[in-house]
């Protein structure tokens, strides 16, 4: 079913939203990604991913107070929805089951090297 699968970058973003637990807004998410994965996500890429997550119903939005350091604009905080958590779990399970299906990782590594 289209729209329920998570793209790789979407997964990273959604995980960050979950980690930040209520404090997730644009710059905070960007910082979290940088801290955890050393990846420099561009603002454009980040927001386009957030918009997709919102469309798929994996995150909820809540407006915060206006902030002077944002030129008086409000922060928009993202929180993960139940559907979002299920999507993360599904992805994790998929990965795990596939990992498990590899006969022996070390043997596999030897074979390929």
């Amino acid at each position: 079913m289209k729209g329920t699968n998570l793209g790789e970058f979407e997964e990273v973003v959604l995980l960050s939203v979950a980690i930040l637990d209520g404090d997730a807004y644009g710059v905070a998410i960007k910082d979290e990604i940088k801290k955890r994965t050393k990846r420099n996500a561009s603002i454009g890429a980040l927001h386009s991913a957030l918009n997709r997550l919102e469309e798929k119903g994996f995150v909820n939005l809540k407006e915060g107070d206006s902030a002077p350091e944002r030129g008086g604009r409000r922060r928009i905080f993202y929180t993960i929805t139940k559907a979002g958590i299920r999507a993360l779990e599904r992805t994790r399970l998929q990965r795990n089951s596939m990992w498990d299906a590899i006969p022996s990782l070390e043997a596999y590594l030897k074979k390929t090297s």
Binding site: Y25, G26, V27, K30, S42, I43, G44, A45, L46, H47, S48, N51, A67, E69, R70, G71, R73, R74, R75, I76
Partner: protein, 873 residues
Amino acid sequence: MSKQKRSKPPVFPTWLISQLGGTRHVNNVLGDMEELYRRRLEEEGELSAKIHYWIDALSVVTHRAIPREKSTRSITVSMELLINYLKIASRNLLRQKVHSGINILGLSVGFTFSILILLFVAHETSYDRMHAKADRIYLLPMTWNFNGTSMPTSANCSVGGPFMKEAFPEVEEFVRVLRTSLSLRNANDVIKEARVYFADSAFFRIFSFPLLQGDPQKALVAPNSMVITRSMAVKYFGHKWENENILEKTIIESNNKVYQIAGVIEDVPTNSHLQFDFLVSISTLPFSRATPSWDNSQFLTYLLLSPGASHERIRQEIPNRLESRFGTQTNEVISLDLVQLPDVYLHSTVYKVPNASDVIYVKIFSFTALLILVIAMVNYVNMATARSMERALEVGVRKVMGAQRVQLFFQFLNESIVITTISLLLAIAFSWLLVPAFNWFTEKSLNLSSLLTLQNIAIIALVVIVISFLSGVYPALFVSGYMPAKVLKGKLKDSLQGIRMRKALVVSQFLISILLLICTFMISDQIDYVQSKSLGFNRDQLVSLSLDSISRTRLETIENTFARESNVSGTAASIQLPTNITHQTALSLKNETDGERRLMTAVSVNSDFMKTVGLQLIAGRDFTHRIEQTSETWEIILNESAAAFFGWTAEQALGKEMIVWQKEGKVTGVVKDFHFSSLHKPISPLVIFSGKGATQYTNFIVKASGSPSEIREAFEKLWKQAAPDSPFLLTFLDDQYESLYKKESLLKQVINLFAVLAIVISNLGLFGLASYLIMQRTKEMGIRKVLGASPTTLIKLVSGSFVQLVLVAFLLAIPLSWYLMSEWLSGFAYHISFNWMIVMIAGASVLILALATVVYHALQVTRINPATTLRAQ
């Protein structure tokens, strides 16, 4: 607060992003960007923060991070439509290469010349505005009135300026300027410097010519002080003059007079009617010349009025003050006028200010440029409407799909904007290439970059819009009005209205072309007439050498040296050249009072003048030999007109006594009328006189045979022997005579160029139109051919309608050109009559060209094998 805290993110990307969608998304993204911006500002500095801000903005755009609003029509939607229109427009342009090429070529040629003319007009109207006080500076010209003859002159008498300052408290300053020339020593050479002004010390308080060195207050005070321009500083003191103290330097005149350099200014800008290289303090002049008097008008006089002073009031008050100060008689003879400085160059033609022009040339140039533009626009309209049939299907489909007429209208308008813009860009490139040639042609030094002012760019943008609109609106209305049902059924015919419109436009194009061509022919005919007209003496063999104060004293030596030469058949000396005698002098008969004086053209000459120039006496005798050295009273020779003016026959005039230059003289001869000034004016009374006290000759005239280069070479050698301390300045009277008609020659060349352009562009248009309309009739031609029509009949058939149009244009052009040319010719006292031959030639040549254009296409159509065109049916 630190400076960095106040720094704001760049405005443009912020605006761009705010245009992308709804507020919520925009604010979310912009909030993040601003937060990051501030953080980077603290950590990495302003530059890095700004660069990253731009990168962020770019990433937002490329990732489409802001969803588009769906409900409202945002800018992006209409942008897409616009892009689609542009795409359609460019496809159409590419599909119809020949037609678009003709349109673009025509328009860009029109634009190119309009840009050049704009450049010229901008320069002409910018004269004398560089002075800070320009609106308060006034030229004080005067008019002499003697017994009904009035002579306006730009130069005032030496007393004019002082009188005005004394009489009116509003006059803050005055400056008198005397234009002259000096022979100056530079190393071992003697150079004649013709751009020398003597000026009062107020010069720099009135005009804004900033001094590079020297004190503006003192520079023109002491006698023999001289202010020079930068180029003269380089010429006389070398390129390193700036490193030295130039105020200690001197320049020496050929008669060993020493001038102290008192200042250096930048070269005078070309858009100043005051044109000089040297300024000399007026106190240098001999006492008698600058002493205030009403004797001789020789000083250009400028006044500086106090802020808020009314020049109108002053002008009205002048006669009263003149009368109370100098008496009734002076007031009757003299009238003064005020001309505001920026008006001097274009709007003071009656006073003939040196270096000034006439607004009529600006008008003629602008008008012809406009005509060319109109012709090019007409091409576009014609072809767009003619081709509209092809677009009819597109319009029908668009309409069926729900396009509004307004949208279609703008779509077609858009195409003309595209064409106009491309043509303009091409035109800018063309004019950039043509500026040097144009400068050579107009003798100006114009620069395309001077057009790059906000105002001019706005004008150009406006012109593009107006022209796109004018040329696009008719076709757009026309095409967008098609009924889709009819179009899609294929029942559309070229409408009668469209055909009429096109015919009218073609006629107007050819009307302009023929008109310009007739004007060109007439003007060159008149100029040829002027140049070949016998003046009453043979100017071909006459050469003039300029005399200065030193060579004048050695006149006899010079005469003897030249007389020995085998190709020299005579020499003479005079104050003015026989081709252009302009000096006016007050003259009275012996028993008359001062009040009965009248102004008359007069020239002082030596006794050889009549003989050498070749003037023909009809009564009396020539001057007594060496009269200029022997006689205290004048010997006078009148021309026929002068004798007639006094009511005498040639014989009666002999022996009459009159007073010229405050001295008595007797008429000894009468000369047959000859042309002594430009043919614009009828021959007027002329007094030629000779005797002691009028020997300030400025020209040594030699009658010589041989080629110009031989004469120049030989005479330079002779001159160096006879007058080694004076500059060698040789003029052929022929050239001097032609320079009297410089304006006319320029006019001729401009109209000539425009006539050619007009013909080329309208023929281009005709080419396009004919090719299209004839191709439409291919099938008809095929059928006619099958039924037995000969190629000649076919050609006659298709070209007939076009020839008709050109003929109509020709008939309309005849009365118009007759009117225009009669007006212009009446500016000459001696002119050709309106030449019908010329009209016929102009009409015939345009007709032949048009015919050739049409027949070319007609031939192609008739050559096609009817089988190919009719096979489809």
